[in-house]
């Protein structure tokens, strides 16, 4: 076997999202609106791991300021189209990625050719004012295409994910433990019974897997306690003492493992709350020909739980490493795996039944998809996002914002300022931009002009707060008004790069459908070096 060049190049990331995630990346088409420094940094972190293609939409002519802060521009490109210039230099990063550009004004494109954006897997918007953003977000929402809204101003970074729904099977939990100690299935129960602890020599006794130790003592306990598991803390303690008394010497690591994992035996195996909620979801209840494979599988699992599973999810089928000799461990593994396989086959039949009922053929869902779903059944996730219209117009999170804003340490203040400067921009066609904060000894002093810039921005902050019916205006707001006037709409290379990393990471999660993405807003404060997440 020889490893091909591509596998070698992507080795360090394949260990995180495997070939399936990589294939999804390679099939994706990413659109960046405006080739800002932040936008280029996002694309850099997506071109490197190998998305299929990117397209930059930007009409701006590169100026000296752009060339100063972007690694994907230089002096020679001043005066040329920014989309073209950054595409050329981003393209160099990875020969397997195709780069395109469109030297058109994104805002007029949104006004006149909104359909243009529907060809992409994901759209990333930087530097777009509120109104066209709302229009774009609605069109993408209806087409189920995720939109990222990204801003960096001075030391503050902000991004928001907008899409109706995101479902994840491969959430990558730290470990998948599904041992069924409290409800052992017959094959497992039988296997545990084949161990006669007392007649074993010390070597074998020291290699009984802890799963068997726990099952054996639990079985005895249940016999002595009307079939009940240890429940009170006194009983749990007593149960552990019984295990301890079976230990022949302190060197028996398997007994140490049994004691450390005893809590698993007391924990009832059940359908986790968040999975139950997914089962109760209307999308799981009413399937249509348009239902995604996630919902069809969720329904099949629900049907399994209600019938053959007798209230339990399909067995995950994996066994953690434990002290044991090889053949015992392999037998134990085989018992769990065979049970899991049998249950997967039952789930397959539910899937086929459902597919048939909604007029689809059984090849719509592949076997490996079912395997993976059954394995991760306890960890599946559905995230429903709020639309931008809800956030901006129909249902702003007034009460939450009010509450967060009263805490002087909370990053929500940056959100208030970002929204306020959008209003400022809409009215004045520029961002607030002036030195407004002075102390004695500074070379310059406050002028009428600088005072009025501060007051003007404060007006927009107050308009926003009154729209949200926030009457208790905290004192610390003034400091942040000064700070954002100082930033003057600037992009700092470090903040651009930091946001590039955060946004690209979330883009990768959405495209690969692996790991759990942000819901829905992240703010990074580069003054404090701290981030916060909000549902707005």
């Amino acid at each position: 076997m020889n490893i091909d060049k591509k596998t070698q190049k992507y080795d360090r990331q394949l260990r995180l999202w495997q070939a399936s995630g990589q294939a999804a990346l390679e099939n994706s088409k990413v659109c960046l609106i405006n080739g800002t420094a932040t936008g280029c940094e996002i694309l850099k972190d997506l071109v490197l791991p190998g998305i299929g293609s990117f397209t930059v939409v930007d009409k701006k002519e590169v100026d000296g300021a752009d060339a100063g802060i972007s690694f994907f521009l230089d002096e020679d490109r001043i005066g040329t189209n920014r989309a073209q210039a950054v595409t050329e230099l981003l393209q160099e990063l990875n020969e397997d990625v195709r780069g395109f550009y469109l030297a058109e004004d994104p805002i007029s494109l949104i006004e006149n050719r909104l359909d243009y954006f529907l060809q992409f897997t994901i759209v990333i918007a930087t530097d777009i004012p509120e109104k066209p953003l709302l229009k774009l977000s609605e069109a993408l929402w209806n087409a189920n295409i995720p939109l990222f809204i990204v801003r960096t101003i001075g030391f503050i970074g902000y991004f928001r994910i907008v899409q109706p729904e995101h479902t994840v099977v491969e959430t990558h939990p730290d470990s998948i433990m599904d041992l069924r100690l409290d409800v052992p299935f017959p094959a497992l129960e039988q296997y545990a019974k084949t161990f006669d602890f007392d007649s074993m020599d010390n070597m074998d006794h020291g290699h009984i897997p802890y799963v068997v130790i726990l099952l054996k003592y639990l079985d005895q306990w249940k016999k002595d306690h009307d079939g009940k598991l240890p429940c009170t803390s006194a009983e749990k303690k007593q149960f552990k003492q019984i295990i301890e008394s079976g230990r022949r010497n302190v060197d028996e690591e398997n007994f140490a493992e049994a004691l450390a994992n005893a809590w698993r035996a007391f924990t009832a195996t059940k359908v986790p709350h968040q999975v139950q909620e997914i089962f109760n979801d209307p999308a799981c209840e009413t399937l249509t020909a348009n239902s995604s494979s996630f919902w069809i599988l969720a329904r099949a699992i629900r049907d399994f739980v209600a019938n053959e599973g007798q209230g339990l999810l399909p067995l995950a089928g994996s066994v953690p490493d434990m002290k044991a000799d090889t053949s015992t461990y392999v037998s134990l593994q085989t018992i769990y795996r065979q049970k899991a396989k049998a249950e997967i086959a039952i789930v397959r039949s539910h899937v086929n039944k459902i597919l048939n009922s909604i007029g689809r053929t059984s090849d719509f869902i592949h076997d490996d998809e079912i395997d993976s779903f059954c394995k991760h059944a306890a960890f599946i996730q559905v995230i429903r996002y709020r639309s931008l219209k809800e956030e901006y117009i129909s249902d702003p999170k007034k009460a939450d914002i009010d509450r967060w804003l009263q805490d002087p340490q909370d990053n929500i203040v940056h959100y208030v300022l970002i929204r306020a400067i959008d209003k400022f921009y809409e009215a004045n066609n520029r961002y607030p931009d002036a030195a407004t904060f002075f102390i004695e000894g500074d070379p310059e002093e406050a002028t009428e002009e600088s005072k009025s810039e501060f007051e003007l921005l404060k007006t927009y902050v107050n308009i926003l707060l009154s729209e949200w019916q926030i009457t208790n205006i905290p004192d610390h707001l003034d400091d942040y008004i000064h700070e954002i006037c100082r930033a003057g709409g600037s992009e700092l290379p470090n903040m651009a790069s930091l946001l590039g990393g955060l946004v690209s990471q979330e883009v990768i999660k959405l495209i690969t459908r692996q790991y759990i993405p942000l819901n829905n807003t992240s703010i990074f404060d580069g003054i404090k070096s701290a981030s916060s997440t909000y549902i707005l």
Binding site: M1, T7, Q8, K9, R12, Q13, R15, L16, K44, D45, L48, P49, G50, G64, A65, G68, I69, S70, F71, D74, E75, N94, G154, F155, H172, A324, T326, Y329, V330, A435, F437, D442, P443, E444, D479, H482, E483, R486, A487, G488, S490, E491, L492, P493, N494, S497, G500, G501, L502, S504, Q505, I508, Y515, I516, L518, S522, K528, S529, A530, T533
Partner: protein
Amino acid sequence: MMAATLMQTDVPTPEDSDSSKKVWPGRWSHINKILDRRGPFCDKSFSPGHGEDILLNQCRVLVIGAGGLGCEILKNLALSGFKDIEVIDMDTIDVSNLNRQFLFRPADVGSPKAKVAAEFIMKRVAGVKVSYYHGKIQDKDDDYYLGFHLIICGLDSVEARRWINATLVNIAQDDPERIRVLIDGGTEGFKGQARVIIPTVTSCYECSLDMLNKQTAFPICTIANTPRLPEHCIEWASVIQWPKEREGEKMDTDDPTHIQWLYDVALKRAMEFNITGVTYSLTQGVVKNIIPAIASTNAIIAAACCNEAFKIVTTSQPYLNNYMMYIGNEGVYTYTFEHQKKDDCPVCGNQSAFLDVDKEITVEDFIELLKEKPTIQLKKPSLTTDTNEKIYWQSPPFFEQRTRPNLEKRLSELVKDSGTIIVTDSTLPISLNVTVSYV
């Protein structure tokens, strides 16, 4: 400590090169908004209008590591206006670097990272001087490190980090003028951390050694007798079968034919024991101890480090005190806190560490204990009593031979109860006092 005083050091200022003519109109206009204006959170010493001209032109920065973090750090520093940068890295470019180390192209594979990175930055960012050293950080002496205002580390090796941390703390000991700020970044998959270390003032890298994930080490008896995992079979191939079947031959984990051999041997053993899951990729991962790495996390951590460098040098904002932890696999999460200095830190503390040990413990087992203990983790500890009697020295060979008989002795024969042992390590410039109590 005020940020301003951190920068008032006697490092020679870089000679003014031809950088002045590389300033086109508007080039620094974004950054200058911050540097020309005071903000409410600025340090009192901040002087509007001087940032770009004075501070950035007069600051020499050393970047340690030109890998995933290093490439990002160099780019960010150059774009932020730092003009005099040096980079050290001992590695050459491998094809598996290309998914994130964006200053390298396929044609650069095999070339020194430090050289290619430095040249690329100078080509792309006008007016910046990036010098490089292709070699080990241990090659350089105290004067070399004193020649920089700021040192930013983007390393994947714990050992190298411990070395530079201990070196900078030693340099700063007794003389605040010799404090050189160390900014350290590290990543692993979707996780990482950025921290600001002010040697002798804040907690140091060694203070937080117990926060590291302990590497899984498989017991040799499991590998030899009761393999259960594919990893056990791979370890068997590399630890037991290689020395047996390819005696005298040095294993090179970068040689694909060697990995292929290990994979074949491991696979055969796995099949024998009905163990599934041995793959080429896993074989490579286990024997090379590969840590997953992606562009995104490197960008986040490198930018956080450079943002701190920018704030410290320009005093335009308060800097991080002193630790930001980043976790990105479930949403976006950071935890920013002040990591506390440890009084008994082997590097920056001045108190003895207290250890309760079995009164029967042999010197040899005591040394094992020092290697294992999460707060100490020494590779090759040498022990001396506080009255300067050698207990066991790893080197030079003459002393090793002379002290070797002590290994079998009980520690209590050589050190009385509540006695203090001075522990040193030839791989690290540190000395730790351990006071033992026998129980």
